[in-house]
Symmetry: C2
Subunit: 354 residues, 2 copies
């Protein structure tokens, strides 16, 4: 069905002819063609909720670069929005919820959305993108991790210190566990709906797991992500849908993540991928991890850094090349091209045994 | 000379009757008496450059809490200011430099300040604070790490992505090495002047080391901090002046830091202090690491979290209790008291062998 199965094979640690490459926020503001559609949509949420426009921006980076995957254009906050918290994006200000969770009753009364009805615009987009992709590359679906969603839902917006959500975690750990349990179900149902509609790999973004103490990361964030994993229906028509967990700032906890049942772990740029591979062995694939800020450097520097990451991972399958965090909005697309082409040119020698 | 040598003893891993406690930004905005002096000073820099006022705010937290150290009230950006970059603090905006470093010539022409003349207000404050402390508690001096200073000097202000400074690091690593070499000398000279004036321990704040890749952290930030360490004159009148390195976000690199010649390592709150101690053994003391956001929780929760950190470190000397990052400006001083008292009450049992 897929003409390019390099990504899925690498995530399942099957032999590949070269290292697959895609990158976080590849459908985004650094592309002039994205900015044009974004303007046409009027607002960020209009773009997310319009399957045709979401499909268009999902496909844009694949027209420019030799990428091995498309990733659904959407936002991690679609779930809390469907739960009734009232999401809005004020221009230049980031997300806001009109009704953040502050009391036990808010959490007890929180409904778990039915994705096929309440998040239909997402599954519609998935079906449309799969049709348009026509097997040229696999489509990755995604969701925010339960903990990361909880941070926005309790704070009501982005935060730097996570004062409200940590106060709940510290003073009312049982209530936080209840919230994370609900979110684990909601996230799993949502990802299952994306899988049902056609995504061929899924990624859980734990953007704020790295703000926790080790103990709380393991007992709350990772535990909730593991519950999502257990509920996922990853066997689809004879194919396995690989599951990737990315915890920004999670470099101290790779061993625990590797034992939590995921197929791949996303590494941020602070991790040394050579040491990471030594630490997790062959339990999981590794995805990453060029510093996104390296894309401001010269194409020659970018090529050297790509080579050093490929060499760090070393021989064999199980590496998906990516940035260590989302691309910045003002990066020159020519520098992205230098990164992608470097992976194509430099990676085959690490797969010579195929 | 000191009536309270608990901090120095713990940093040098000599037996202590209980775990010493102080905390980052203990002289700061969460104290109403600080806000009063700050208002009187007119501006933050006026407060830093006036030895009498700096002395007053340094001593304030010791009047309220049973702390085992005072820390000089100052700012890490005094060095680049003395180098002629033109520091200012716009209200509510953070630091700005009028003349950031952008070209090779800026770096080659950068003067190394003579602290006893150009940063005289700092050594005057140290002498005054020592006199006022009268041996009641030791005084800690500090400086920013070369890398952390470089981030502000190249960016010209605080940054989230460190685009300019990383561009220099990636495209012109030799130029960055030159800058860090100069800063290593300037920082060491500055700390030596503080030691000469009377500080009894010194701490290097590497606030932004954790934004680097592992390779660049080791080859640039840690290497420069090590050069500072090697240049320090830590033998003073028969006493050893212990040196602490704190790298926020540095939890992945503790082994390398422990081998770099420091007496103590500061841990941020994401590190598990039990695992940290297993990783570094008895090579260094460990300082930390309560999540500063835990101070918004109830006093009972704070006490439990303090107990769990003390137990994590376990038996024996070599632990200095602290927050895992600076205290937030709106914390209730009563919650600080709960933390400090918990250390006094719960820590003696871990030192029973004395």
């Amino acid at each position: 069905m897929n003409k390019n199965h390099c990504l899925i094979d690498a995530l399942l640690r099957r032999p590949v002819p070269r290292t697959p490459v895609w990158f976080m926020r590849q459908a985004g503001r650094y592309l002039p063609e994205y900015r044009k559609v974004r303007e046409q949509a009027g607002s960020f949420m209009n773009l997310c909720t319009n399957p045709e426009l979401a499909c268009e921006v999902t496909l844009q980076p694949l027209r420019r670069f030799r990428l091995d995957a498309a990733i659904l254009f959407s936002d991690i906050l679609t779930i809390p929005d469907a739960m009734g918290l009232g999401l809005s994006f004020a221009e230049g200000e980031g997300p806001r919820f009109a009704r953040p969770l502050r009391h036990a009753a808010d959490i007890e009364n929180l409904p778990i959305p039915d994705p096929e009805t309440e998040l239909r615009y997402v599954t519609d987009a998935v079906r449309l993108i799969r049709r348009e992709l026509a097997g040229k590359a696999p489509l990755i679906g995604f969701a925010g991790s339960p903990w990361t969603l909880a941070t926005y839902m309790v704070e009501g917006r982005g935060s730097r210190d996570f004062k409200q959500v940590k106060k709940m975690l510290y003073d009312a750990p049982d209530l936080m566990a209840t919230l994370l349990d609900k979110l684990s179900i909601a996230v799993a149902d949502y990802l299952n709906a994306q899988i049902g509609a056609g995504v061929q790999a899924v990624m859980i973004f734990d953007t704020w797991g790295g703000m926790l103490t080790t103990e709380d990361y393991l007992n709350f964030s990772l535990k909730a992500a593991e519950k999502v994993r257990q509920r996922l229906q990853t066997a689809q028509a004879g194919q396995t849908v690989p599951v990737i967990l990315f915890t920004k700032g999670g470099g101290q906890w790779l061993e625990a993540m590797a034992q939590a049942g995921f197929d791949g772990l996303g590494l941020d740029w602070t991790c040394d991928i050579r040491l990471a591979r030594q630490r997790v062995g062959w339990q999981v694939a590794l995805q990453g991890n060029l510093d996104p800020v390296a894309l401001y450097a010269s194409p020659a520097t970018i090529r050297r850094k790509v080579g050093s990451i490929l060499e760090g991972f070393g021989e064999g399958s199980g590496h998906v090349f990516n940035l260590g965090h989302g691309i910045s909005p003002d990066v020159d697309p020519a520098h992205v091209e230098a990164m992608v082409e470097a992976v194509h040119e430099l990676s085959p020698k690490f797969h010579s045994s195929m």
